[in-house]
């Protein structure tokens, strides 16, 4: 018996243009947050994302909800913003946050002047802190180096950026927002100083979509410059690449920051059952094709181990890299000293009256960025409805919860349904999770693919990195009618390739053994590498 799955889509017909009040370009934290903010004000929006949710910097960061202490030396305004937004989000979106607190620690050899100034700088920004005896700090966090010379406790927290964006989008969709996944802007048609129509294209199917919107918001993050250029505008974007590593096990209870001016590999953020170590800051010419490298991985481990020595020998399961969209002018202070404050640009002053860009900023302040953008949009549309995202809690949805490490096993054990097979055995993701995710996905676009299901769950994120669960999930997606025709094999290849990009710089010791097995299964056994070349023998 194969229960038929709802594949009917609430998707626009390709025949006519889609009319909306606001077109939002970019499905990161800002874009999804803006969609929710505007939807709560009663506006109709279309959110177009060229890949999938959090495909840029929103999905490639530490998942750190800053207390603000990180920025006390470099940017007091950003520090204060972080403090305020952090407190607000802990109250209104607690299901996306683990309020575990954080430590700033220094080890022998670190800059003593910076250590001495730190409490004063925190006080100046109104950021709560508490000095800890180093012995106490090591009792609280036994993984810390024995060479600790100073420790402060702050109110850092971990935040799941995927869950956050999924929940923001979920409420926006519920209020009528249309989400177009895999849909890129192709061109703006500008007449009389207005973007009259926006031509978009589905990158999977090639289908063209036209949107007529009263207002167009460019929330494309690191790609904001490219979008602006399509409207004939020039933005000066700086692309700063950051690489991060995910450990197999959680190493600390709290967020651990190195107490020194921001540099490489100085933050370790726990999240569920894993920890995330990073990052680097390397200027790159473009935000596309960003990959972690072997040299960056080695640098991060060597640096991080000074603070948490077990990093030298722990098992890593994934590396990833993102590009911080920094907005500003050329300067000499290095990219870390560029303001992490955001830029809200009203392009009416550049001759395009219904076009706005929101970029820069950071995950912790995404809501504020969305609020300020929505205020401008509402003003232009003559709508007086106030922002509600600073008052209303973010609703919790069932299908958005599967990204949390360690959650699926708990739910599965609690439900104890013998027919609800585990498809992923590393992170214990059951059939029911896949069904819940695919049902929601089918509302968002025409294609439901393995990679999109994996993005919304822990599938492929355990030690086997998808070697086994990919096959089982694909089989189940066929059984419930979500996959059809011969698309399973190319999807499997895409999924494994996506996993591979985060694996190959980390392959030594056990992960290399695991990758040997993965290649043995998929290349030597299943021959998926040959399948694309087998058209002739038929």
């Amino acid at each position: 018996m194969n229960p038929q799955h709802p594949t009917a889509l609430s998707y626009p017909s390709a025949t006519g243009p889609i009319r909306t009040q606001v077109l939002i370009i970019g499905g990161g934290a800002t874009g999804t947050g803006l969609a929710r903010d505007l939807a709560l004000r009663g506006l109709h929006c279309v959110l177009a994302e060229k890949e999938d949710i959090n495909a840029g910097a929103s999905g490639a960061n530490h998942g750190l909800l800053h207390s603000g202490a990180r920025y006390v030396a470099s940017d007091m305004d950003a520090a204060k913003e972080c403090r305020e937004e952090g407190e607000l989000l802990k109250r209104l979106a607690p299901h996306c946050i683990e309020a575990n607190g954080g430590l700033f620690v220094a080890v022998k050899g670190d800059d003593e002047n910076y250590i001495a100034d730190f409490p004063h700088m925190c006080a100046d920004c109104g950021i709560p802190f508490e000095e800890l005896d180093v012995k106490l700090a090591r009792m609280l966090e036994p993984a810390l180096s024995p060479n600790l010379i100073a420790a402060y406790r702050v109110a850092d927290a971990s935040i799941d950026p995927f869950r956050l964006s999924f929940e923001n989008l979920a409420q926006a969709q519920q209020l009528g927002t249309l989400f177009l996944k895999d849909t890129a802007v192709v061109a703006f048609e500008i007449r009389n100083k207005r973007i009259e129509t926006v031509r978009l294209q589905n990158r999977q199917t090639g289908e063209e979509i036209t949107v007529i919107a009263d207002q167009v918001v460019n929330a494309a993050g690191a790609w904001a410059g490219y979008i602006a250029a399509m409207a004939g505008l020039e933005l000066h974007m700086i692309y700063s690449k950051g690489t991060l590593l995910v450990t197999q096990n959680r190493l600390t209870r709290r967020v651990i920051n190195r107490l020194r001016p921001a540099t490489d590999a100085d933050i370790l953020v726990p999240g569920g059952t894993v920890s995330i170590l990073g990052t680097t800051s390397v200027r790159v010419p473009s935000p596309d094709g960003i990959r972690p490298t072997v040299a960056e991985v080695d640098l991060i481990i060597d640096q991080g181990a000074a603070m948490v020595p077990v990093l030298e020998s722990t098992r890593f399961i994934r590396a990833y890299a993102g590009v911080r969209p920094l907005f500003g002018s050329q300067h000499d202070g290095g990219d870390r000293s560029v303001s992490r404050g955001f830029a809200l640009l009203d392009h009416a002053s550049n001759g395009v009256d219904n076009f706005i860009t929101i970029t820069g900023g950071k995950l912790t302040t995404f809501r504020l960025m969305a609020e300020k953008t929505a205020d401008l949009v509402a003003r232009r549309l003559g709508i007086s409805a106030p922002c509600l995202t600073d008052k209303q809690p973010l609703p919790k949805t069932e299908f958005s919860q599967w990204t949390e490490p360690g959650l699926a096993p708990k739910l599965w054990l609690r439900r104890h349904d013998p027919n609800d097979n585990l498809l992923c055995e590393c992170d214990m993701v059951p059939k029911s999770a896949v069904e819940s995710i695919t049902a929601q996905l089918s509302r968002s676009g025409r294609q439901t693919d393995l990679t999109a299901v994996a993005l919304r769950s822990r599938i492929g994120k355990g030690p086997c990195q998808g070697s086994y669960c990919s096959v089982r999930v694909a089989a189940h997606m066929y059984d419930i009618g979500v996959l059809q025709g011969p698309q399973g094999i190319p999807q499997l290849r895409d999924f494994l390739q996506e996993r591979w990009l985060g694996q190959h710089p980390l392959l030594w010791d056990l992960p290399l053994v695991q990758s040997d097995l993965m290649q043995a299964l998929h290349c030597a056994f299943f021959n998926i590498d040959q399948e694309q070349n087998q058209e002739e023998p038929w």
Binding site: R291, L423, Y468, A475, V513, A520, C523, A524, I528, P537
Partner: protein, 430 residues
Amino acid sequence: MEAGRIHCDLLVIGAGMAGASAALFAAKRGLKTVLVGSTAGLQFAGGMLDLLGVQAPNTANIPALRPWEAMAALIQEQPLHPYARIPLQEIRRAFVEFTELLASAGLSYYCEPENNLQIITSLGTRKTTYLVPKSMQSNAAALAQKPPCLLVDFEGLKGFSARQISATLGKHWPGLRHASISLNGAVHKSYPQPLAWELENQAVRAVLVKALRKQLQGEEVIGLPAVLGLASAGQVQAELEKELGLKVFEIPMLPPSMPGLRLKETMEKLFVNLGIQTLLQRQVQKVARSEGDGFTAYIGPDEPLTMVRARGILLASGRFFGKGLHATRKGILETIFNLPVYQPENRALWHHEDLLHSQGHPINRAGLETDENFRPLNSDGNAAFPNLFAAGTILAHNDWMHLKCGSGLSLATAYAAVNAFVQTRSNAFG
């Protein structure tokens, strides 16, 4: 002579395809043979025996239908590949001798000597291989001829969807249909091994036959997940075919698989039949030279260690999965003798960014370099020891996953290395 020591002619380290077959070849040649290592890896072989699955290593990933012709291209493009060291006739003999041994212990294989076979896998891919278990003979025939065919899956069995296979292959195979069957009466349904065990039970098989009859619409052949029994696999299949009056075949699925398990158990039976002394699931802790040219190996991990005094050692400890090689952030080491390992210059060169890169990953050609007698080299480029041989995937210059030559590489080099050892022995005593 000390008590508690085992004395032998040849100690084989590693009980994967290369080590296990080397022990069989050695015992057959009258050598007193000891085999140490884990046979668990054999299950991952999936049960099919590959010879060479790509037309040529540098022309993308095109399947080879004529493997012996592809061999010529391989040897020309990769003259350091271990296959290049072995006359083709010897490689054929290795396969013949090995499959005859398996048949003598009740496990039959099928091949077309000059051709590769292509079979359907559970993913709907077509796997190119050389020898298949008898239970997959009709799989290859069905894929080649595409008669009306019913693919069936069992409800609850993970990672096997008949719908997936027929959706993937259906465009080119109009007579392909799929169905899903609930095996009432079977308790353990999620994994192949318990399910195979259930199907050894006559009552469960009767349920299956009845359910299959209900689904048939004039098909000539039925494909089922490779779970048709364990020890009495041949019987289970024969009985289904007789009851239904048509051909039934197995479709291999994600390892550890039943065909792999059957291969493992048959080889373990042969170890007994041929008088091989086994120290399975145990590991070599260290090896020392002893007087003469021999070795003394200390086998653990538990104390007291077993001491094996051997005239020669055949090292078939595998690559990373087999723990014959170990990778650190700084480089790759051989784990037992600390032999030099041929490897890319640094870690950044180990892998391509493209998982399915048409050239394969450079690290997959790392391993031990040997002389013409399969003796690993020391850093001077000479045989490290006169009586230490190596076989299987630990050898350098073979990317078996990319070339789809794993089993053949293991069998052929095991065969050649054992013969080389016999030769050196007869030279020494001749």
